[in-house]
């Protein structure tokens, strides 16, 4: 039967009606011709035709697709029922939509970050070549994936085995502006084979080739991304051949990559790609091209067809000793060299690219996926309960239909169609909701400094996931009530309405569902509280410095004075200018901005002995502690007397004093910082003691820090100056004053501003994400469980009206009835909470790594969650209990 006919069956029916009508006319004419009277002629024609409706029905049936027609009927009937019960429909659809929407949103992000293959040719053959176990490499690490050094890359490139191609890449940032406020572009360093091995074709112009990436390249071309081309050049097709300024150097744009290509790092796009050989042009004397301890590149390769990562790994391991032997840094001491020589290269599958996001967000996303899954389970239990209640209410209707000949299958099909309708509507709204939610999530994860670029197009996989969820949900909450409703013998069901009390087991499944809901929602509420309290602990934890009213100012100087003394004078002058800006309370330079994620640590020698504890190190200018609000506990701050010619001095924190110097008052003690072999190891005298403060991030516990005087180490001064500026009043508006002051000093200075508090907030992104989402889900779960309990209790009260009436007629007073109902609720609640407590303490262990300042089994949290849930649930069951107590015995008994 053709679908065309099915959808036009009404039209066909009308055609047939007209045809039969025309038959009657013809037959009547014939009868008239035979001499019949007009009335008789018509009647005879009708008799001859028989029942026209029957004919039409038969043809109509031929036009329809049987099951589809009944499904259509069932859906229409279900739709009518839902419309007639809007409260039920709203609760059902909303809880489903929220459950499915949340799941899809989180899965969408998970898919984009974790599962999807790179949009390049044959991603399955891509492998990343890196050191398998790289625990203690030393040196400088720059970029987002500092896996290898350039000397290592050059050796690996020279020995290609089992590869169709190899390439190296690294990340960087380029300033597009010619001085003034910096305009940052995401940079990509690529080796010559990068685009060719990935199989990327240019959208415009040409891409970087091995010919471009030759040592000492003088005027290499730059390739820009499609997004950058659109953003910066408005998609101008004549962009090829134009010049672009990167960190003050001009490069010619040679081509544009196609849209959708973002490099090999999921979560980050790139704006401009330069060949690796161009690195010395930007870095000048600080080039890392030949530094054996500068880690800034990552290497990927395309396996030759038939190659496997395991075999390639074995081959790489075999050639590793030679490669590392040739590239060991002369700056390494004995231990470092030993570690370095023990490294082995391996090949690791990289079809889905690499990602920093992945490492940071994989377990939170998995956890959130699990939480969202639980919310969906609770929503389903709620729906199952609602459906059960409805099915019970419709038992008589179903019994009547069974009695007059409906088949069991037909009725189950109809009840299923209703659930399908609910699931369909829920999934549709959920899919819409998911788009909004995942966009919101991505913008939540995006910070000013790091544009998270995740391709969130709803893929087939996500759609399949939603559809699967909807179907599963539909089966889950549709089938159980449907089976129950039809397993009752019609006769019994017809009589049941007159029965005094309901059979106990009738409530069994529903009680189970309520208990399960309470238990699961307790798990989620506990989880939410753990994350929210962790975040609160982090926000309020003693950090050892002020968070508000401080601006982090990063200056990039246009040129570097050759003489160290001149650099010092220049930076001091800029600092003084900053201090003189109106509204600035104080300003101090720091090599490392606290909790920015960067760090510098070294081994300390006390009395000539290298200590086991490694200390954090920072170099700061005078006034740093005052600016940061870190109390000076003893001794003095750095000052003008600390110069290159005066004895080296240091200020240490309490942890340094106790752990490395072994005493609370370290003033006057001396220590050395272990240097590379052959370098002098100056002796530092401790002149001050400061309160402990956080160094790398807020989650760490206080560790030793040695603060050195920036003025005594001018060789460390480079192009960059990081200044902490403390505002006298609000920091709003201070930025433009600072920009003006710096432009006056030197228009070539590039400047970036960020409130310190903002930087801290961004460093807590993961924690905020977990707290916000799990809080939302916990609330949702608690709400759903409360609705479930309320529904269960009201239903029970309604069913037992007569019984309650009799009890009251026999002398039970209202408080006794309330107590009876509340007791029922209390039993369900306490079983659920007990079960939930066990589940929660098991589940919380999965979150241990994401907590701060409290353990997964934190008793306070558990008590708070139990009390909160019990309170709300008691309220939810008190309302039906009150209604039960309001039963008028005479009325209740007279019913039926």
């Amino acid at each position: 039967m053709g679908w065309g006919r099915f959808f036009r069956r009404r039209h066909w029916d009308e055609e047939r009606a007209r045809e039969l009508e025309s038959y009657l006319d013809l037959e009547t004419d014939e009868n008239l011709a035979r001499g019949m009277a007009p009335d008789e002629a018509r009647a005879a024609a009708r008799r001859k035709l028989g029942n026209p409706t029957l004919v039409r029905e038969e043809i109509y049936r031929m036009n329809t697709i049987g099951w589809l027609e009944t499904v259509g009927q069932d859906l229409r009937y279900g739709g009518r029922l839902l419309r007639s019960n809007p409260a039920f429909a709203t609760v059902a659809v909303l809880s489903l939509a929220l459950g499915i929407g949340a799941n899809t949103a989180i899965f969408q992000i998970f898919d984009a970050v974790r599962l999807r293959a790179l949009p390049v040719a044959e991603p399955d053959r891509l492998v990343e070549i890196r050191i398998g176990e790289r625990r203690a490499a030393t040196g400088s690490f720059t970029g987002r994936r500092p896996q290898l050094t350039n000397p290592l890359w050059e050796r690996i490139r020279a020995e290609p085995r089992g590869f169709d191609g190899l390439f190296a890449w690294g990340t960087g940032r380029f300033d597009l502006a010619a001085g003034g406020p910096a305009r940052t572009a995401q940079g990509l360093w690529v080796s010559g084979g990068f685009f060719d091995v990935l199989g990327v074709r240019p959208a415009l112009g040409r891409l970087i080739t091995p010919a471009d990436d030759q040592r000492g390249c003088a005027a290499p071309g730059a390739v820009i991304s499609h997004a950058f081309w659109q953003r910066e050049f408005g998609g101008d097709p004549s962009v090829v051949g134009r010049m672009i300024r990167l960190d003050g150097h001009l490069f010619e744009i040679v081509g544009v990559t196609p849209p959708g290509f973002f490099g090999v790092e999921v979560g980050w796009g790139y704006d401009v790609a330069l060949p690796v050989c161009a690195e010395p042009i930007l870095s000048g004397e600080q080039t890392v091209l030949d530094k054996q301890d500068a880690w800034w590149l990552a290497v990927m390769g395309r396996l030759a067809s038939g190659g496997s990562p395991a075999r390639t790994s074995a081959e790489l391991a075999a050639i590793s000793p030679g490669i590392f032997q040739q590239t060991v840094s002369p700056a390494y001491n004995v231990e470092d060299t030993k570690t370095y020589l023990a490294f082995r290269l391996g090949a690791f599958p990289a079809a889905t690219g690499v990602s920093q996001l992945r490492g940071r967000y994989e377990s939170p996303l998995l956890l959130l996926l699990a939480i969202a899954g639980l919310v969906l389970v609770i929503a389903c239990a709620n729906l199952a309960n609602l459906m059960l209640a409805r099915a019970t209410a419709r038992e008589r209707e179903i019994a009547v239909r069974l009695a007059i000949g409906a088949s069991r299958g037909r009725i189950i099909r109809q009840l299923l169609a209703e659930s399908l309708l609910l699931a369909g509507i829920g999934a549709a709204i959920g899919a819409l909701l998911a788009q909004v939610l995942s966009q919101a999530l991505v913008s939540f994860l995006t910070t000013k400094a790091s544009g998270v670029l995740v391709d969130l197009q709803p893929s087939g996989r996500v759609l399949a996931f939603t559809a699967g969820l909807a179907a599963f949900t539909c089966l889950l909450f549709g089938l159980a009530p449907a089976l129950r409703a039809t397993s009752t013998a019609p006769g019994a069901a017809m009589q049941a309405g007159g029965r005094l009390t309901d059979r106990r087991e009738r409530f069994g499944l529903r009680r189970g569902l309520v208990v399960g809901q309470v238990a699961l929602s307790l798990v989620l509420v506990v989880g939410a509280l753990l994350f929210v309290r962790s975040l609160r602990n982090l926000m309020t934890a003693e950090a050892g410095f002020r968070r508000d009213g401080i601006l982090v100012v990063t200056l990039t100087l246009p040129s570097l004075d050759a003489a160290a003394e001149r650099r010092l004078a220049r930076q001091r002058e800029l600092l003084e200018r900053l201090q003189a800006v109106p509204g600035v309370e104080s300003a101090a330079e720091a090599e490392i901005v606290p909790v920015s994620g960067s760090g510098w640590n070294d081994r300390i020698k006390v009395g000539g002995v290298v200590q086991a504890t490694i200390s954090n190190v920072n170099a700061v200018s005078p006034g740093f502690f005052q600016t940061m609000g870190t109390p000076l506990l003893g001794g003095r701050d750095f000052g003008a007397r600390d110069t290159t010619s005066s004895p080296r001095v240091a200020i240490v924190n309490e942890a340094f004093a106790l752990q490395l110097l072994g005493q609370a008052n370290p003033i006057g003690r001396i220590f050395q910082i272990q240097q590379r072999p052959g370098s002098p190891e100056p002796t530092y005298e401790v002149v001050g003691l400061v309160r402990n403060s956080k160094y790398r991030d807020l989650r760490e516990s206080f560790a030793p820090i040695a603060f050195l005087a920036l003025a005594q180490d001018p060789a460390a001064l480079d192009q960059y100056m990081q200044v902490m500026v403390r505002a006298r009043g609000p920091i709003v508006g201070l930025g433009s004053a600072i920009e003006r002051a710096m432009a006056e000093a030197d228009p070539g200075i590039s400047i970036t501003l960020q409130p310190f508090a903002e930087q801290i907030r961004q460093s807590l992104l993961r924690e905020r994400l977990m707290a916000t989402l799990s809080g939302f889900f916990g609330l949702l779960a608690g709400l759903l469980a409360t609705i479930g309990l309320y529904g269960m209790m009201s239903y029970m009260v309604t069913r037992r009206r007569r019984e309650i009436g009799i009890r009251m007629a026999l002398g039970a007073d209202r408080p006794a009835v309330v107590a009876m109902v509340m007791r029922e609720a209390a039993v369900l609640l306490s079983v659920g909470l007990a079960l939930g407590t066990v589940l929660a303490s098991m589940a919380a262990r999965a979150a241990r790594a994401l907590l701060f300042g409290l353990g997964p089994g934190d008793p306070n949290t558990l008590v708070m969650a139990v009390l909160a849930l019990a309170g709300v649930a008691a309220l939810a069951s008190y309302l039906p209990a009150k209604r039960a107590a309001g039963v008028e015995p005479t009325l209740a008994l007279r019913e039926q």
């Binding site: 039969l20 029957l54 031929m62």
Partner: protein
């Protein structure tokens, strides 16, 4: 409406054959439902009575299979009527069905003939 001594064949006996009869009737030229019934009855000398209750579903089925096509026309006495005509596919089907029918008839004949001793 049986009028003769020979009782008309039962409708269910005609199940498969009604299609063949309709196709054959239409092979002469287009006709409307009323005329098709009349033609079949006349040519079978009233032995085959066409139930209208089954004629129209049969026409619908044949049209659905693409063996006949329909259009609205005007009957000989100026009534609007739905006409059916044979399609090329229907013509092929008619040839097939006819030979199949002949096979069945001769097979029946052979069975029904008195067995030679």
């Amino acid at each position: 409406m049986p009028k003769r001594g020979t009782p008309p064949l039962q409708e269910d006996m005609l199940q498969g054959t009604l299609d063949l009869l309709v196709l054959k009737t239409l092979s002469v030229g287009p006709a409307h439902g009323h005329a098709i019934a009349h033609l079949i009855e006349r040519r079978s000398e009233e032995v085959l009575q066409v139930e209208h209750g089954s004629l129209y579903p049969a026409l619908h089925r044949l049209e659905d299979r693409g063996w006949i096509a329909s259009f609205w026309g005007t009957s000989e006495n100026n009534r609007r009527a739905r006409y059916y005509r044979l399609t090329p596919g229907g013509r092929k089907k008619l040839v097939e069905q006819t030979s199949r029918w002949r096979e069945i008839v001769s097979a029946m004949e052979r069975v029904l003939e008195p067995a030679p001793e």
